[in-house]
């Protein structure tokens, strides 16, 4: 009797998997592909994907492309021992020129950076759902308002402003500014950063490179009252205090 029950359960599992083999939509494929490396990680640690990630396993049965990626990732997860002594690869001097791309050269302080309204609107209200889901304000949860690099006196500066929506009743963007350089000996610090965006303005002094919180940006200062449009371009001015 028990044997019959076991066999029925096995057959049921098998039929379920056989029923699953079907085409997969692009949306389903994208969602599964996003977590491919996570599932590969679990598979490599000995987890049975069919049991712990049944939804993903189902996608694997349905998508040849995803199966191929999954099997390749498993196959290539081991060491690179067999090519570690490859003379060509070992003597290769990597081409790092891509690090210099999109880095405007500026000749002197102060440096002015801008993010225009259209770029910001696309950030908050993308025409196509950036993350393949809702496009209302708050759907992304973290927004990189500005990410720019520039080179001055042979030092590259990278600046980035990230924000997230606060949970407080007076809605605002909690905002952080990061500034880094590729040169430990940079003499530019301390640096003053001034940000202006719509009715919002703030100043910050950075003694060294790193991340610092800006005063929160009230949504009313930068968005129209119905929160559907951005009011203005964002301007940033960077000046060494010694200047």
């Amino acid at each position: 009797m028990d044997n019959d029950l076991d066999k029925n359960k096995s057959l049921k599992d098998l039929m379920e998997d056989l029923n699953s083999i079907n085409s997969v939509s692009n949306e389903e494929y994208s969602a599964a592909e996003e977590s491919l490396d996570l599932v590969v990680d679990q598979a490599l640690s000995g987890i049975d994907i069919r049991k712990l990630f049944p939804k993903f396993f189902n996608y694997l049965l349905r998508s040849k492309k995803l199966r191929e990626q999954f099997l390749d990732a498993l196959a290539l997860s081991g060491s690179t021992n067999e090519i570690d002594n490859d003379p060509y690869l070992n003597n290769l001097r990597p081409d790092l020129s891509f690090l210099q791309h999109n880095q405007p050269q500026v000749s002197s302080w102060p440096v002015f950076l801008t993010q225009n309204r259209v770029q910001i609107i696309n950030l908050f209200f993308p025409k196509q759902a950036t993350y393949r889901r809702g496009t209302s304000l708050g759907s992304a949860a973290v927004y990189t308002l500005l990410r720019k690099d520039f080179t001055l006196s042979e030092t590259t500066y990278s600046i980035r402003i990230d924000s997230e929506l606060s949970n407080s009743p007076d809605e605002a963007l909690i905002t952080y500014l990061s500034l880094a350089t590729n040169n430990d000996q940079s003499t530019a610090f301390p640096i003053n950063v001034s940000m202006r965006w719509g009715e919002y303005s703030a100043e910050l002094s950075l003694q060294q490179e790193g991340k610092q919180k800006l005063p929160d940006i009230p949504l009313a200062d930068v968005f129209t009252p119905d929160l559907s449009r951005v009011k203005a371009d964002l301007f940033l001015t960077i000046t060494p205090i010694a200047c």
């Binding site: 085409s23 598979a43 000995g46 049965l61 196959a75 290539l76 990597p94 949860a141």
Partner: protein, 259 residues
Amino acid sequence: MDRTSNENIIAKIEESLSVLAVSYGDEIISQIKPILMHNLAHHRVEGFSEGDLSRIDSYVQIVIEKYMSLHNYLFALQVQRDSLAWTQLSKKLNKFAYQFFMHKNFESSAHTYQLAEECAIDAAGSILAAQFPYDIDFDRWARRIIQNHCLRFMRDETRKKEVPADKIVELNEETDYINNSDLVQPLLEKELIDSMDRAIEGLSESRQEIIRWRYFEELSPAEIAERTGKSLNAVYGLQFNALRELRKILLQTGITFNG
């Protein structure tokens, strides 16, 4: 994922973060939260939890730990663009790309080295701009990026060589299997069992074995890999192929499937 599930996940993340704030401090938690929200928007939290909210605690814990161990490295790569870190990573990316092409049976030649280099440079550009999810080892993530670049390269090349772009017709790989209505022929259990037994017997020996081990003995792929000495990807590959062939045999005997 519907809105309610999303809200449930966010509530569970908040709950985990407030518990973990006691051990890790508010500063770390404030830096982790945007990463978690980003991962949520990119289906990674959903992919990890598969609807099981109890997995969220471990997911949040993984992100915190990876953030603490990898944040400085990512900062050096993406913000400082540290050339030493990039030199080492680029060499690794070249190896990953070359290993990929070898796996795909490319010849070991100067041309393949060059392809690997090109894909590695493209992948490096992606890594420079991408947001690291902090829920996985860096190398695994980098491997996935390079794998995608190499695959894209191969697909582009295949298209260019074989078929003019205007002649490409997207064929559904599962054409054989779709357009079958729901299980329209309710079978008596015994009939189904008999058909299944016969269909399994129609598989090659190795495919019969994998079906037996996976479904009737409930062995995990890792256990089968250990038992047979096969690699994990070979075991999964064998299972996928066995299922597809089994389905084909059953279809030929008149059994139809959902879809």
